[in-house]
Amino acid sequence: MIAIKKNKKAGERYLSIWMILIWFIILVAIVIGVLLFNSIKIDTRAIESNSLSERLISCIQGNFSYEQITSANFSIYKFCNLNRDVADGAMYFFNITLSSSGKMFSISGGNPDYSVQCGYQSLSGKTEPNFAQCTNKQIALTDKKTAQIYNLQIVTASNQKGEFK
């Protein structure tokens, strides 16, 4: 009776490939769950677009002079205390249109693609989550010097997403 049939070894019983595979699946599931939870972005694009619009309106409205705004050395960035690199960059867009009885003047900055995205959303009446979020406002302004009434239309957009370093 030398040839005794060996029992399965304890190590083999517990450390089978299946056991390691199950551990690995549990680990991957937990890591994926945590990463998914942490990757959720807080969408403040609509608020930013509205803030940009409000800022442009408030600084233009404050001491409105058509002559000043249309002058060659006028800078909307300095006038409204905007960072040119950001407001004229890839994440934002703005278009200011001043009009009054035959006169029309426009200033725009930022990513011109958002103009198309804003136009599409405005026409369809739907908010597209993958598009830039837009604000469209229109008010009447009185020129402080000439007392002429102008129509101010402002379209702004933001498509900013945060960064992790």
Binding site: I4, G11, L15, W23, R55, N83, V86
Partner: protein, 135 residues
């Protein structure tokens, strides 16, 4: 005699196997608990929330107005993580608000406001962060 020898060897194998099994189990669960506890602090989400909150508040600033934000939560987290660096820093050239509560990373968010005309105060005693745009 041969049967006895085999029994001894089997017992040793069983002990070694069980020991390896227990060590590997322990290592796996320690690693898992470490990862989950680190992720569970919510530092990542908090950094993201505060960087966006400050950027949105900066966007809505008006000349002459001052905005103060309670940052006690950030300071507590930084203390828990033994982090002594800048919790909130602003890159004025790019108008970027950077929030960090640990050494491992940070979150940043941009504002369209020009911070060269904004005075910033971080009051560590009152745990507040203030911004005021010059008129």
């Amino acid at each position: 005699m041969i049967r006895l020898k085999n029994k001894k060897a089997d017992a040793l194998d069983l002990m070694a196997g069980t020991a390896i099994f227990l060590i590997l189990n322990l290592a796996f669960f320690i690693m898992l608990m470490f990862f989950v506890s680190k992720a569970g602090t919510g530092a990542d989400i908090t950094e993201q929330i505060y960087s966006q909150k400050i950027a949105v508040l900066a966007d809505s600033l008006r000349p002459g107005a001052e905005i103060t934000l309670d940052i006690s939560e950030l300071m507590e987290m930084a203390k828990d993580n033994n982090y002594n660096g800048d919790i909130i820093s602003i890159d004025k050239a790019n108008s970027t608000i950077i929030v960090a509560v640990g050494k491992t990373g940070s979150h940043s968010y941009r504002s369209f406001l020009d911070f060269n005309r904004v005075s910033i105060t971080l009051d560590k005693n009152n745990k507040t962060f203030s911004m005021m745009e010059q008129s």
